[in-house]
Symmetry: C2
Subunit: 417 residues, 2 copies
Amino acid sequence: MRCSVLAVGTELLLGQIVDTNSAWLGEHLAAAGIDSLVQVKVGDNQGRIAATLRALLADADAVIVCGGLGPTHDDVTREAIAEVMGVELEMRDDLALAIEEMFASRGRRMPASNLRQAMVPRGAEVIGQRRGTAPGLVCPVAVTGGAARVVYAVPGVPVEMTEMFERAILPDLLRRSGSPAVIASRVLRTWGESESGLGERLAGLIAELDRVGNPTLAFLASGWEGLKVRLTAKAASGAAATALLDDWESRVRGIVGGHVFGVDAETMESVVLGLLRARGLTLAVAESVTGGLVSGRLTAVPGASEVLRGGLVSYASEVKQELLGVPPGPVVSEAAAVAMAEGACRVLRADVGLALTGVAGPAEQEGQPVGTLCIGIALPGGRRASRRVQFGPGRETMRQLCVISALDALRRELLAG
Amino acid sequence: MRCSVLAVGTELLLGQIVDTNSAWLGEHLAAAGIDSLVQVKVGDNQGRIAATLRALLADADAVIVCGGLGPTHDDVTREAIAEVMGVELEMRDDLALAIEEMFASRGRRMPASNLRQAMVPRGAEVIGQRRGTAPGLVCPVAVTGGAARVVYAVPGVPVEMTEMFERAILPDLLRRSGSPAVIASRVLRTWGESESGLGERLAGLIAELDRVGNPTLAFLASGWEGLKVRLTAKAASGAAATALLDDWESRVRGIVGGHVFGVDAETMESVVLGLLRARGLTLAVAESVTGGLVSGRLTAVPGASEVLRGGLVSYASEVKQELLGVPPGPVVSEAAAVAMAEGACRVLRADVGLALTGVAGPAEQEGQPVGTLCIGIALPGGRRASRRVQFGPGRETMRQLCVISALDALRRELLAG
């Protein structure tokens, strides 16, 4: 089964927007065992969209077209698909009504131009709109002397596109390919081991998966979102897919479980805040090298205020000493990090303190090389922990990896306590 | 002049990497008046790269191929281009030597596989490598009965690609198109006025530019990087282009100069730090709604430590009151923001204090709607300033816009002082 992707929009060619839809679709098609061999961007030009669709259909069973379904005269994806199908567009009254009601529910009058979005190539099926005003389309295309082909059209807005893909397009593709009806993925987020290190430890399991072919396993390095291990299962039902994923998740965890900090949308921040909340503990952060990024990430989680008392960015060494009570001496050290964590607890009256000090560069500091991170942790009952980590060059990358590394160190201490 | 873009790499189709090169190239080609009508991604497959190149050359004068120039057997862009040109690859000893020297200068032995990078299609010109080991290529392609076409090959690593594009490809494209020899851009970064607002105020100037056609002017909304106004000039020489840009920059500034905070790579953070440094002032930040992001952005600028004493993230209301000395009462108010700024100066012993308090959501707070931001500023000599801003929904977007808005408020106060 081959499915190409066509992203439509002059703003994509002009670089005003980066096309992330194609990458997302490629990733999800591959996880479902569907090849996406070519992905194309064209502008809002009916002739060029139609010509590209014809070229792509010569070599693929299906094409997903993203974008060009809006209400303005620039939006010509519908017309281009009708041209390729060799049919007319027709007004669908039910769609027109749905769009009108969507405007009414927001207390607004529907502009007449939005009626364009109720036009559908004759013979196409509609994917009902849930998040926007544009419906999606499933358009059969006859190919002389070949098997039937299909063109899917979805809005270019990512949240609308992904919802329609998961709800309607992927099931339809799987049905057409004769595959089992359900594909489900689970992402295990890890930290503390490199991709090659995880690969070595999971080598036996990966070899077994290569033999059985289901589920599949893939690594995805995602910066301070963690190193992801994605399992993707095919099965006859949702329950069977879940059972398969449960089984293999526990086998993966049996080998590298200590590095798994979260599943699917769980972030390191949300996991650490959840552990603290469950223990009834409040947190204070003291940062030097990361300059506020740890607090910034933690406060991106709604409800962080129940746990996080606050943070101190002690960029000047005197601030570390005067405000946090760090003893005179080197400030890039595990001892200084622990003193910072204790100071943060005291100043912000929190139960737990987490501190980071290090060297982001461009120059070394106190004889410590660029990329040095010292983590300090203060826990109730006088428990203290510290760690030293060495990262490679790249100021912003290093600072981001410091954030997840420090939060992971705290996670492990909380679990060990 | 038409120039298509072909991004090569299976990892792009699998969504492991998002192709940002095409968007960058599209933007810079458009700024130079060159149309990029189609942009394609394919995997590391010689036949598919060659077929796509042939298809693109049927409709474009030039194609830029990004990626597939590495040393491994997966990297087959060289072979595919030679196939389309109908020539053999030949080993270029000078390139082999350059690659060997590059390894030697880093104290490493060159793996034999890197010699692949010294292979060049017969008749191609080389774009010398400066940032990586892979040279770029300029490959003439004869088309039966048509004008000569050209294929450029560049590495997929963005810093290598952009350097070769600006140094060799754009000048070559302009020479072939018969355009003036030089294209130069200048970006004026603004804050404080919407895109449509800037558009209205600059309407007369834009109409005049539309008539003369050189330079061109474009807006680019870039989140907390500011709203950019890009001028792009064509001229016979670099000096003439600079003179043209100088002239129009001063005309733009004559109308909206108060909103221009920086030029080209200058960020709001670097500009504010520069203003403080020039005045010999140190800074302390107190953040609630942004939870450390202001400090995090400031400390991303190398050398920030000369100006920034530190920051306080006062997420809990008691921290605002106890540590910063904010009087009891509403904490989302301009008065509280000013008290926070004063407290930050006092606690961190800085000359200037900048404070942010607001409501990021999901729920309103103290009767203030989601999206409310209050900025407080404390300056030497008892000078105080505050501001209230209302943003739309979207927690992370709102927090980012808070950061640039608060720094801009401080910038304006420093300039006014």
